[in-house]
Symmetry: C2
Subunit: 209 residues, 2 copies
Amino acid sequence: MALLMEHQFKQLPADKQVETRSFLESVSYLPPFFDCLGSTVFAPIKADLVGNITTIKAVFDSNPSRFKTLQKILEAEKELHGADWPKVGATLALMWLKRGLRFIQVLLQSLVDGEKDENNPDLIRVNCTKAYELALKKYHGWLVQKLFKAAVFAAPYKADFLKALSKGRKVKEEDCLDKIRQFLVNFTAANDAIYEMYTKMNAELEYTV
Amino acid sequence: MALLMEHQFKQLPADKQVETRSFLESVSYLPPFFDCLGSTVFAPIKADLVGNITTIKAVFDSNPSRFKTLQKILEAEKELHGADWPKVGATLALMWLKRGLRFIQVLLQSLVDGEKDENNPDLIRVNCTKAYELALKKYHGWLVQKLFKAAVFAAPYKADFLKALSKGRKVKEEDCLDKIRQFLVNFTAANDAIYEMYTKMNAELEYTV
Ligand SMILES: CCCCCCCCCCCCC/C=C/[C@@H](O)[C@H](CO[C@@H]1O[C@H](COS(=O)(=O)O)[C@H](O)[C@H](OS(=O)(=O)O)[C@H]1O)NC(=O)CCCCCCCCCCC
Ligand SMILES: CCCCCCCCCCCCC/C=C/[C@@H](O)[C@H](CO[C@@H]1O[C@H](COS(=O)(=O)O)[C@H](O)[C@H](OS(=O)(=O)O)[C@H]1O)NC(=O)CCCCCCCCCCC
């Protein structure tokens, strides 16, 4: 769990505002998560997330003090882009990024909860599929759904996945799951707050790709 | 055919040396080819080609007079990288790029040759599948092959594809095919020369991704 634990998300303040700088800092360590899945097939997914992060960072860097929180960015872009908003800028990038984060979150949660396919307890396909169904499926057309179904077969064995998350160090499965549990606390809270913000600001779109 | 015709490949000289600068210039117009396929599903493929071109261009730009032809690059990298070569640098990028180019070449050739599925004459799936089998299949493991099989269903109707190649202008199918024929002459010659160079220099690798 070295990969995730060394870059925990910050605890959410009482007003549930996510600070842009520390959010960007923390998520920038997540794309390598897809390398842990072990196949080059996941490279385009990683690239998509990196693209989202780059887009948000560019907006933030254009005026760090103005864009102190993620909500400030959405508000400013709503003002700026009029009818094009929210399908534009960092608002669009974060809309997709949060879905990728939710995929990661549900996958990890499902693993620490011990959910498994009793016939294939060493695999993580059921966990990936659950995460996909909750986070992404409804935003994907039939073709991308079909691609997912094929891609999930490339998911690694559970043991290999946990080892990769620990940067190749051999750690006890229970220790690793403990660390994931710890990581999930702030990570889940931050992502939930982002989802809430999209709902409240009417910034969520339901189209499929 | 505006897309391709406005940026024809240069005629190959008698010594069959491909000039790096004009090659890079011509291929830089090809990635939008994948936009003509009409689905965002092809974005990762486009990104892969753009990555190849960027890698080669970076090497070229580091010393344009030294790297006047593609062969000069391969020779210099062979010298420089020793045992890592050819799985390295612009040599690796061009190895993959030429396969993408061959995919495009065979697809277009198959269209101008009038090859079609008699039961689905309006589709280009058979042409895509032929191009895939000749250019790429053997370098892909079972999973990527499976992804291709799913992705080919997203290929557009022939008429829409030809229209997209003409930048949305409505041109007669026969006119469009004529222009493709013309484009293919220098394009095919250049790509054949690159394949020959890889064989002669023992730079071709057969591993799968
Ligand atoms: C030769 C073989 C051929 C095979 C071809 C296969 C092609 C595979 C295609 C795979 C798709 C990879 C996943 C990417 C999917 C993306 O299309 C979607 C939508 O992406 C958004 O689209 C947007 C465009 O929207 S529009 O203009 O409004 O239409 C933006 O471009 C946005 O970027 S932005 O920063 O600029 O704002 C971008 O993220 N992305 C996702 O679905 C997110 C995926 C997250 C991770 C998924 C985890 C799955 C893991 C599976 C593991 C088993
Ligand atoms: C949520 C949904 C989940 C779906 C997930 C789907 C994922 C889809 C994956 C799709 C794959 C897209 C196609 C890309 C394939 C590439 O892996 C291969 C190999 O790429 C090379 O790998 C190399 C790594 O090699 S190694 O280090 O030696 O191992 C290099 O990275 C090299 O780049 S370089 O410039 O740095 O040198 C790079 O091109 N590329 C291809 O196969 C080329 C594809 C060309 C176009 C294909 C046209 C098909 C069109 C289909 C239309 C129906």
